[in-house]
Assembly symmetry: C2
DNA sequence: CGTCTCATTGACACGAATCAACCATTGTGG
DNA sequence: CCACAATGGTTGATTCGTGTCAATGAGACG
């Protein structure tokens, strides 16, 4: 038992968790954390693997420990739209729905700390600090969703792509040039996120490259050459 | 003092409030309600009047007692987008932002129960039930926002307008024909909501009318003739 | 009765989707 | 180690839907 890895047994390991101080757990002291500790189990998910399917019974929620997850909805005719991205420290789950409304899929290899939904709600009810923390997070997500509504409703393809790269660069830690950063999403996923087609995304990328604003380095990385120009385009 | 109207003095009147059992207040018993009671004041707002301006210091939050409010964001070049509608019982306010991110404007004459943001947060911290209630509401808003993202990103103009009318009809209490219901939004506001232009909205309306699916009765009312067809178009 | 606001209708332009080829990279089996 | 398929990405030609610009129409209100 002492040989159990952190992956298999989170119990007693929260203190050393990568997201101990950024996830919801940050709202709890080490003693309170025991309640969640007892409930959670670690799970590693491969790139492309689904964690929750829309329409399924909504049994779990989770903290993202590492990796990136996309939340998607699809139209009646089968086209998909990414309605949220989750990064390490973010919370995954629809606590108050018995049936999942969204599909959650790993975009990169991902580590999760999974809780049964019912159990988590029970802990939530007993820990106002946790609830407060979740409320803040949910408010922030709502704000983000509304901002994206504005983009989807009003921005041109060029503005969307520029804004997307701008956000990625900012998250990668700066706006100084030249900044090299990863593109964790495929072209198809970028299109799903921005409400465009693959072809349009591709064309916008080459346009940015032609103008010397970013340079693509393989499929999954980019180098930011002109942050001001990019920011201006994102507008 | 006994002549004070409910509008001027909410104190001691919560029991008879129109939204006592649907708003956040529903989470509190009459005794607990006293804390909010002491904080709140009623205010009536005319159609078109703004309650909060994006960018301003974020001083207040409120419960909607009667009327409809739109939450808007605008692009750099001045076009507006409605990112949320609030109905009686809904909660207005960004509790965790010192600067307002959204403009809130009354779409119809509206009655509010207004609280200072700081005071409300203090009450919230002391009443977990209230916080839980707000968390549920915020989660529901997030869900709604994400659904609208799908619409804005993927639906055609026809689908958007049909979906909008479908929602209004449902809210008006049924899908039986012929159902007469109000259009609380102007054409311009519908366009702002759906991410279209006034002209496109107008054309879609006449198309629906030509096909005998809805009939417009003046500018501000519609009669639903064929609910199934409307639902099918909304997809 | 005239003006003002809001809505409708028409002509046209433009941006992004669609359809279709082609190219590059990765991985696999001989 | 190379041939070859499979996957993902780019580029081009064309179509289609919605935005834009402009004129007209209909209520609301003074």
């Amino acid at each position: 038992m002492t040989a159990a890895t952190a992956l298999e047994s989170p119990s007693g390991r929260c203190e050393s968790c990568a997201v101990r101080d950024v996830a919801l757990c940050a709202a709890l002291d080490d003693a309170e954390l025991a309640a969640l500790n007892a409930l959670g189990r670690r799970r590693r998910v491969a790139r492309g693997e689904a964690i929750v399917w829309a329409g399924d019974e909504n049994l779990i929620c989770a903290n993202i420990v590492a990796g990136i997850i996309k939340l998607t909805m699809s139209t009646a005719d089968g086209r998909e739209q990414i309605v949220g991205l989750l990064y390490p420290g973010d919370f995954l789950g629809e606590l108050f729905a018995d049936e999942a409304g969204l599909t959650a899929t790993a975009i990169t290899p991902t580590d999760l700390c999974i809780y049964p939904r019912g159990g988590f709600r029970a802990v939530l009810a007993r820990h106002p600090a946790l609830q407060h923390s979740l409320l803040r997070r949910t408010s922030a997500s709502l704000d983000q969703a509304r901002r994206r509504m504005l983009t989807l409703a009003r921005a041109s393809a060029g503005q969307r792509v520029a804004g997307f790269l701008h956000d990625l660069a900012a998250r990668a830690g700066g706006t100084h040039a030249p900044l090299r950063f990863d593109l964790p999403l495929s072209r198809g996923e970028i299109a799903e996120l921005l409400g465009l087609t693959i072809e349009t995304v591709s064309r916008q990328f080459t346009a940015l490259q032609t103008r010397g604003i970013v340079r693509l380095s393989g499929r999954r990385a980019a180098i930011l050459e002109d942050p001001e120009a990019l920011a201006a385009l994102a507008a």
